[in-house]
């Protein structure tokens, strides 16, 4: 085991401080009140890390480096300003692909010029530990890149969300993975270029292969998993450079992605392995469209809904993926304001995996200026449905499906759900009686006596309800 070149302690201290800033950045997210301060800590940490690096390495050409930062910065700021909140899943996937590619570029640069990174002896022989770290770094980076590109294309609709299933894919994938690990092991003995570049190429390939068979709806879990990977890639580079900031960041990001994946899988009651094995979403259309749809159900209009809700004491609004698709959050807020003006108590109930991304509904409601103290999590509001007059379900389906509580054969059995069926009246906004949600299962609540189906686009329906409420025509 080699000793790395002793590092100037002040520099190491600066990187440690940067790492602590990143910890505080995530810590700040424990409540909305402290979150912005947290984000500032994150920025400060990044500034410390960058400035420390710039000051301690003689820049061959400062203009180029600062120019590169400026170019990237402008692109990033423009993207951040332009992006619609509903497109956040795509944006995150796109950003991850860049982190992955950057990691690949850095690992390749380190391979080509190891002396600049202090990871080789003067003859250019790279240290054994560094070879492993570098190999892992480039492999994880490449997988992150190509996986995120596919995730982006599927989420953005540039590529069909349907899982693309190759024959023998598990065999091919396992073989490729084994080849990558084998070559990284061999790389410790032989640092020839062909080993390094083969690892890189295979890793790009496995990223594509792994993600292509996963259905579009499962992409959020994948994005989170890739987020985790990008963290481990940063940590691997941190080991190479003996850099505390990178190691701490890697561990934070790695943990964050892993925990979010876990939360999503648990709330969907699916195992992580089954998500990654792929194929989900292929059978769904078959599962839907059954005998059940023949059962009677009660249609309703925007006027009916406006009347019912304005007469209610308490209305609980349950938003879901459909609200995001239709961008109905602003109209919804308006509806809530009008109801509150008539003395109705309005609350929002958020299921942990409503939408397609953790916290998806919260950020959209926040965008529409719904105060966060009117927005409740499942555990905090679930026993209030029994007392409420109207549950207004908009674009949500799976997260309200009582089959999860009763039907052991249901694919969502065991996932916690919002008990909307206990409300005196349930209003359900969706476009059709078919075309059910993510899990592709029908929902008994549609056919209950106290349920009124408001068929139509979520945005349009809400606008109509707002009009009906505003005209006071009830």
């Amino acid at each position: 085991m080699h000793e790395l070149a002793p590092i100037n302690p002040w520099v190491a201290l600066a990187y440690l401080v940067a790492g602590i800033c990143f910890i505080l950045a995530l810590r700040g997210l424990s409540s909305p009140a402290s979150s912005r301060r947290g984000n500032r800590f994150g920025m400060a940490g990044m500034a410390i890390a960058v400035v420390t690096t710039l000051l301690t390495h003689e820049l061959a050409n400062p203009v180029e480096v600062l120019g590169a930062i400026a170019v990237g910065g402008v692109i990033g700021l423009v993207m951040a300003r332009r992006i619609a909140m509903t497109a956040m899943p795509q944006l995150v996937a796109a950003f991850h692909s860049l982190v992955g590619l950057a990691a690949v570029a850095v690992a390749a640069a380190a391979y080509l010029n190891p002396l600049a990174f202090g990871i080789a002896d003067p003859s250019g022989q790279i240290f054994t530990v560094s070879r492993i770290e570098m190999g892992l770094g480039i492999a994880i980076g490449a997988i992150t890149f190509s996986g995120s590109v596919i995730a982006f294309l599927k989420l953005n609709g540039n590529m069909s969300g349907a899982p693309i299933i190759l024959p023998l894919r598990h065999l091919i994938n396992l073989g490729t993975l084994a080849a990558i690990l084998g070559l990284i092991a061999y790389f410790t003995l032989d640092q020839s270029p062909w080993v390094f570049w083969t690892v890189t190429a295979l890793s790009f390939a496995i990223g594509f292969l792994l993600i292509i068979p996963i259905g579009g709806a499962d992409m959020p879990v994948v994005v989170s998993m890739l987020n985790s990977y990008s963290g481990w890639a940063a940590a691997a580079m941190g080991f190479t450079l003996g850099n505390t900031a990178m190691i701490i960041t890697g561990a934070l990001v790695g943990a964050s992605g892993a925990i979010l994946s876990y939360i999503m899988c648990r709330a969907m009651n699916r195992s992580f392995v089954s998500v990654i094995a792929g194929g989900f979403g292929a059978e769904t259309s078959a599962a839907a469209g059954g005998a059940k749809e023949q059962r009677p159900w009660k249609p309703g209009s925007a006027d009916d809904a406006a009347f019912l809700m304005s007469q209610a004491d308490t209305v609980i609004i349950v938003p879901g993926y459909g609200m995001a698709v239709a961008q109905a959050q602003h109209a919804l807020r308006e509806m809530g304001d009008l109801l509150k003006a008539e003395g109705v108590t309005v609350k929002y109930a958020i299921h942990p995996v409503a939408g397609r991304m953790p916290g998806h509904m919260n950020v959209l409601l926040a965008e529409a200026s719904v105060p966060y103290d009117e927005v409740f999590e499942l555990e905090d509001i679930n026993n209030e449905f029994a007392q409420c007059d109207v549950a207004f379900v908009i674009g949500a389906n799976d997260v309200t499906n009582p089959a999860a509580k009763t039907d052991k054969t249901s694919p969502i059995y065991g996932m916690p759900v919002l008990d909307v069926e206990k409300a005196k009246t349930v209003l359900f906004v969706k476009r059709s009686m078919g075309g059910v949600g993510y899990a592709g299962v029908d929902n008994d609540v549609f056919y209950m006596d106290q349920t009124m189906m408001l068929l139509g686009d979520a945005k349009k329906m809400t606008d109509d309800i707002v009009k009906a409420l505003g005209s006071g025509g009830h």
Binding site: G42, I75, A105, F117, T244, M357
Partner: protein, 93 residues
């Protein structure tokens, strides 16, 4: 720093990551994703080292490309997080 010191730091950082992420409120999970994206661009440190170094021009250009990509993430990630967080408001009264 020797390997075992770095490894110890890594292990402890994993514990910190585990605890700190579980302490994030579910309402802020979307900003969590974007801010972790931003901070994972700390890989820019490696990119800067590569772009600063004389010696291998290929390595230098790879470094510069990585600097651009990481900068997109840093500025984009923090800015979009800031934009999101600014939207979370308490009831005004």
């Amino acid at each position: 720093m020797d390997f075992i010191a770095i490894f110890s730091i890594f292990v402890l950082a994993c514990f910190v990551g585990y605890f700190v992420v579980w302490s994030v409120t579910p309402a802020l999970h979307t900003p969590l994703m974007s801010v972790t994206n931003a901070i994972s661009s700390v890989i820019i440190v490696g990119a800067l080292i590569a772009s600063a170094a004389a010696g291998s021009p290929v390595s230098k250009w790879l470094g510069l490309a990585a600097v651009v990509m990481a900068s997109v993430n840093i500025f984009g990630g923090f800015a979009v997080t800031e934009r999101m967080l600014a939207m979370y408001k308490k009831k005004e009264r």
